[in-house]
Each structure stands twice: as structure tokens, then as C-alpha cells.
């Protein structure tokens, strides 16, 4: 019995990140890469997988040392561990997928300061055992990758008329090129977020936190700034 509840608990940890606690759309974390690199499906999937790798690795490492790290220096310690994994990912991507490395540019090293990763370290990995933390990282990573892919799909299809570089829309339909430019990023993200809220409300789930402060509540810094960012 106990074993079964443990199992279903782990499944819940894994699926949590998909919609109800989707890191981008519901916790509003990691907005910068979500907006910046989702101009095509290829970039979105690549960014999602890179972040997932870092998320699983750093969650496991942080969870394993959670009793060794003094509370006062935990944020710098977490950042150092995360930066180590990001460097590994950067070197791997540069060696094996140089196209992706060039397309992602500065956003690849910026995974270090992606609040999803530090946020999960602070909220989950520093309090839970290694296996749960790895599952949480995997679930959040899949949620992040899915959101990026949906954004990349919408923006590439409507903005350039292609999917993964293949022409999908008939050539005589003029694509809305505004969607692959910066304003389109904000717009598609806003609409997707509204859709996620609508879906969650229809399923009768309570909306987590106040949407106005959700970005701050989920941010790892909220403990440091006492939520000042959201309140001011």
C-alpha cells in the first residue's frame, strides 16, 4: 500500500510540470528564452533539451549535497553547480550540433540564470531526495520543452509558413512575418498563457497564486527580496 502511494506520488511529481505547474505558462519562470529563441521548432526543441539536461543534472547534484551546503551560502552554491552543468551542455552542443550552438548564441550560457533551474533547486531539490528531484527536473524540463515547442511551432508556421524548415503553408499565402520578430514573441506568449489559464479553470482547478505576482512568487529571489518585486 505504502509502496503504491509512493509510486503514484512520484508520477504526480513527474506530471506536475506539464500543465498545472507548467514552468513557463503557470509559474512564469524562464520567460527570457521562451520569448527569444522560439522563432523556429528546431531552436525550441534544442533549447528545451539543453535546459532539461541541466535541470535533471543540477536537481540531482543539489539534492545529493542538500545536507552539506550551509543555508547562508546556498544560492551561490546552487549557481556554481548549475553553471558547471551549463558549461558541460555548451561544450557538448558546440561539438555535436554547431548549428544549434550558433542559433542559440548567448541564450545557451544564460541557462545559468534561467529562473526555472534555480527556482526548482530552491523550491524542490533542496528539500527532496535524489530520485524525486530527478523526476521533478524531468517533468519540469518536459513542460518547458513542450511550451517552447508549441510557441516555436505557432511562430514558425504562421510567421514563416514552415515547420522544421519544410514549407507547409501554400506559397501564395503571405506569412505574418511579424510573428517571428520580437513583438510576435510577446504576443504569442500572452495568448498561450491565457489559453493555459482558461484550460485550467475549465478543469475546475484553482488558479495558483495571484497571476500578478506569480512571476515573483515562483522566482528564487522572492525569499531574498521578500516579494518586494511583486508588491511595489
Amino acid at each position: 500500500m505504502e509502496k503504491q502511494s509512493k509510486k503514484s506520488n512520484r508520477l504526480a511529481v513527474l506530471t506536475n510540470g506539464l500543465l498545472h505547474e507548467n514552468p513557463n505558462l503557470r509559474l512564469v519562470l524562464g520567460t527570457c528564452p521562451t520569448l527569444a529563441i522560439t522563432t523556429s521548432v528546431f531552436n525550441s526543441v534544442g533549447m528545451g533539451l539543453a535546459a532539461t539536461f541541466v535541470l535533471i543534472g543540477s536537481n540531482m547534484a543539489i539534492s545529493a549535497c542538500r545536507k552539506l551546503i550551509p543555508d547562508k551560502v546556498r544560492i551561490p552554491a546552487f549557481i556554481t553547480i548549475i553553471a558547471g552543468f551549463v558549461t558541460v551542455v555548451m561544450m557538448l552542443v558546440q561539438a555535436f550540433v554547431p548549428d544549434l550552438y550558433n542559433a542559440l548564441g548567448v541564450y545557451l550560457p544564460l541557462i545559468v540564470v534561467n529562473c526555472i533551474i534555480l527556482g526548482r533547486a530552491e523550491m524542490f531539490a533542496s528539500k527532496n531526495p535524489v530520485i524525486e528531484s530527478a523526476l521533478d527536473g524531468l517533468g519540469m524540463g518536459i513542460g518547458f520543452t513542450l511550451t517552447l515547442t508549441v510557441m516555436g511551432f505557432v511562430r514558425e508556421l504562421l510567421g514563416a509558413g514552415t515547420v522544421l524548415g519544410f514549407q507547409v503553408l501554400p506559397a501564395n499565402i503571405e506569412p505574418f512575418s511579424i510573428l517571428v520578430s520580437p513583438p510576435g514573441g510577446f504576443f504569442v506568449f500572452g495568448v498561450l498563457m491565457a489559453v493555459a489559464i482558461w484550460l485550467d479553470e475549465r478543469r475546475g482547478k484553482t488558479v495558483n497564486a495571484d497571476p500578478e505576482t506569480a512571476g515573483c512568487a515562483g522566482c528564487a529571489n522572492s525569499a531574498l527580496c521578500h516579494g518586494e518585486g511583486g508588491k511595489v
Partner: protein, 198 residues
Amino acid sequence: MAAKLAFIFFSMILTNNYVLVKFLGICPFLGVSKKLDSAIGMSAAVTFVMVVATAATWPIYTNLLEPQGLGYLQTIVFILVIAILVQLLELIMKRFMPPLYNALGIYLPLITTNCTILGVTILNIDNGYNYAESLVCSLGAGLGFMLAMVMFSGVRRRLEEARPPKPFEGLPITLVAASIVSLSFTGFGGLIEKIFGM
């Protein structure tokens, strides 16, 4: 030389605006832009830390990491330098400049994990800027951040009175508004290049 510096400065503010064109620092852009005075305080703190961080990381990369062939350590070293720097600045400001600390202090802890700071230090190296160009670029990036924050805090005051459809309330409608502000910035495209003939 002066023309190149002016070109970098103005293009960082208008055509390469960090928030609206390059999507760096979206979290503070959405979180702290509700009131004008906090928008100004946050962006002043960001500008200050950006310039100081560039002043510290550029020599470290050029004189220490690059000659030793340790360029791949850039990410780890930069984020640690920035984290230490922010702590140090907070201590110095608290001790010697209390009025400045009272104005900017609460924003400083937020800045360590702000992607604009790490972003500007890495982009300065990637673009191959020299020391003066890097500093000017950081200053321009910070002022561009301030311009976007101040403009957007005005937009948000109007948004509070708007009545969007229910699922759009809060952040989604704010993002749509940000999209329109960003659209207005695409109007600057090519302007700076023409003025300075680059």
C-alpha cells in the same frame, strides 16, 4: 572612435534594446514595472551593476582566461564574479552611501540572477569590443532597460483600468501590451545605422 562609441551607445538604447528586442531581463520588466519610482530605482541599480560588472569581467576574461586557454570557464567565472560584486556593492553602499542604499538597496539582491547582467558581459566578449566600447555598451544597455521600464510603467497604469476577457486578466494582457510597445521599437530599425553611416 568617438563615432563608433556613440553608435554602440545609441543602438543599445534603441535598435538593440535589451528588453524589447533581445528579450533579456523580462522578469524585472514584468515584475517591477507597476510603479514609476520603483521602475526607475530598479533600472538605475541594473545600469550601475552592469557597468561595474563589465569593468570587472572584461579584464578578467582578456587578461586571465583567454591567455590561459580557459575561455570555456567564462560562464562559471562571470556568474561568480557578478554574485560577489553585487554583495560587495551592497556592503559598500550600506556603509558609505546610505542615501543611495536606501534608494537602490532593495533591488540589489534581485540583480545577481538577472539575465541582463550576465548577458551584457558575455555579449561584450562575443562582439569583440575593447574596454571602452564594452563600458559604453553596458551603459547604453542599462539606459535602454530604463527607457523600456519607464515607458512600460506608463502603459501598465492604463492597463489597470482595462477590462480584458477573464483568462487574459493579469499577466497575459500585460504581455500583449508589451508586444505593442516592442512593435513601436521596431520603428527604430536602421535609424542609428543611417545616422552614423555604419
